[in-house]
Structures are given as C-alpha cells and as structure tokens.
Symmetry: C2
Subunit: 196 residues, 2 copies
C-alpha cells in the first residue's frame, strides 16, 4: 500500500462514505459542527483567504423559507434532514487578509483590489473548503448530501447578501433507510491522468 | 470529542499537514499517484461528473516548457519539486455521464447540453476534486504545494486544449528544509458560521 492513512480512515472518508438522500432523526449538534469546523478550517486556500461562509438552517421558520427555493427533487430530503447548511463564498474576504496572511499583508491591495478578481478567487477557494467540509462531516461519522439544485439568486436574497455567493447546500445527518444509490462507476486512472 | 476520525488521521490530513514550498529529492512514484487517485476518485461530485483531469509533469522537457509560465515566485519551487501536477476541468465531461451516472443517463442532455452550463459545473466540481486530491496527497504521507500563480492561457495552450480549463498547479513531494511558513491564523467559528 502506498498510502499511510489508516484503512479505517480511508473507508470513513472516501471508500465507504456515501452521499445520503435520507436521514435518521438523530440531531446534529452544535458541538459536532464546531468539531468539524475546528478540523477543516486548516485546509489550504490561496493566501489563506478561507472565503467559505456557512449558514446553518435550524429553525422551522428558516426551513419554511428555504423549502420553496429548492429544486423539487431536493425538497423532501432537505425538509427531513437533521441539519441543512448553506455554503457560500465571501467576495469581500480581502478585508480579513491582513490578519489571515500576516507574511504579506499587502496581498489585500496588491492582488485583490478588484471585485471580479475576488469573485473568481473566492469561488475557487470556497469550493476547496466546501470539499474539506464534506470530508469533515464524514470525519464526524455523519453523511453529507451536497446539492446544487436550488434557486441561487433566491437563496442569496433570502439568506445571504450581495457580497456572498451561494455555492451549494448540504444536508447533514446519520444516513436513514435506502439512503444512497448504488455506487456509480469511476473513471479509470488512465482516463483522468496523463504524464508528460 | 465529536469526531470519530482517528486523531492521527486528523493530524495527517489537516492539523499537522502544511503547504510545502521546499521538498527533498525523494521521488513521487507512479504507484503513489495511483494509490492517491484510487482513494480520492470516490469523493462526491454533482451527477458523479468527476470532471477533474490531471497532467503529471515528469520529463525535463515538459518542466522546461512549464517554468516560464509560472509566476516568478513559484518558479524555483516548481523546478525543484519531485512531481508537478496540472489540475484541470474537463468542460466536455458530459460525454462520460451516461456511464458515470447510470441512474439517470438523460442528465447529459437534460442538464448539460449548453457549454456555459458545463463550464460552470465543471469548474465547481473539479475544484471539489482538487481539494480531495490535496487531501489524498497528504494521505500518502506527502505534502502538496497548490498554486494559482501562473499564466492560465499559456498553460492551457501548452499542456491542455480548448476543452480543458486549468484550475491550479500542485507541487508534490516530501517536505524539505524550512518547507512552510508558520501556521497562519484561522477565522473563529462565529466569524464563519451563523445559525438561522
């Protein structure tokens, strides 16, 4: 084996972990979300910009606002998930850069003075952090159900603001009955990786 | 502790793993890259589209073509890294969808008939896979050095084609002397996560 990661951890995070479409009613606690964040906050981003922001949809009132904004096929499972997280990119992340990247505090103005540049960088780096977050959910023994089937402008207007672009919505909980499709095929190494 | 992932795995993947800027000359083998791919290929993407494609830059000739396309601050470390990987998004991923997502083979035409839609989806999902790849590099006991400081159109022209958009370039190897900056601060939970 060429990996040093423990096989049980490989299974937990990748090999046996599956996207869940149904959940038990066991709650996802604040302590669990804090533990997930405390782990995945260390995942690398460009200039340590860490632009991911998360809105946890917990109250019945907020769930009701979210439901009609989900694509029809995502509505029932989002209503039933113990916890729903809206993942977004902060396009004004540069305001935090002098504190986040103390080696080179000029990065804020030297690289990120222009909003379109920030939007591109925040989109890419928040997506990296979204993946770390999914891995972190699994590290907590929970299943994630990431979705991009929703009304993006509607979610932005209802739950965010002009400076925060929604990226995906993730259902979180213990997998329920028939939680997953059968595992789909993956591309072979040679279809993905070439050497020059 | 609210996490079930073994603490040693937490350290290996997140807490003690660091972005490396210098490397030892120990090679990164084909077997290691295969083991990394065989793990991280299972990370979730929308419709199992898995649009990430990777070009491993191994030959001296290819390194020479890459060097002038790197930002000056990334040139020396990219020349010295045991392995350099160009990560790209395949904007024509939909051609593989009927095989990759057998539950709903119509997805290819129903959702991804238009190129701009595919480019957006490939960009997001390849970024998720780039993060899984970085986690996988660490799972192999190696350090990653992800970079976006390079000539994107130049790298696309020299190493890819019109259907593949470069996303980032990752140096890979065992960390060398003074490989990393001191760990930078992270945002507090309450700065990132709100509850509604």
């Amino acid at each position: 084996m060429s990996l040093v990661l423990d096989p049980a951890a490989q299974d937990l995070l990748f090999r046996e972990a599956r996207t869940a479409n149904t959940f038990t009613d066991e709650p996802v606690t604040e302590e669990q979300v804090q533990a997930i964040y405390d782990l995945v906050k260390y995942g690398p981003t460009a200039f340590n910009q860490t632009p991911l922001r998360i809105v946890l949809v917990r109250s019945a009132e907020a769930r009701e606002r979210l439901a009609p904004l989900m694509a029809e096929g995502n509505r029932a499972k989002t209503a039933a998930a113990p916890l729903v997280a809206i993942l977004a990119a902060d396009n004004e992340f540069h305001e935090e850069l002098p504190g986040l990247f103390p080696h080179f505090p000029q990065a804020k103005d030297a690289f990120f003075a222009e909003r379109p540049v920030r939007e591109r960088s925040a989109g890419l780096n928040a997506a990296l952090q979204a993946a770390y977050f999914i891995v972190g959910v699994r590290a907590a023994g929970l299943a994630a159900g990431p979705m991009t089937g929703f009304d993006f402008p509607g979610v932005q207007k209802e739950f965010l603001d002009d400076d925060h672009t929604p990226l995906m919505i993730v259902n979180i909980g213990k997998p329920g009955e028939d939680a997953s499709f059968p595992r789909s095929p993956r591309l072979a190494y040679d279809e993905v990786i070439t050497t020059v």
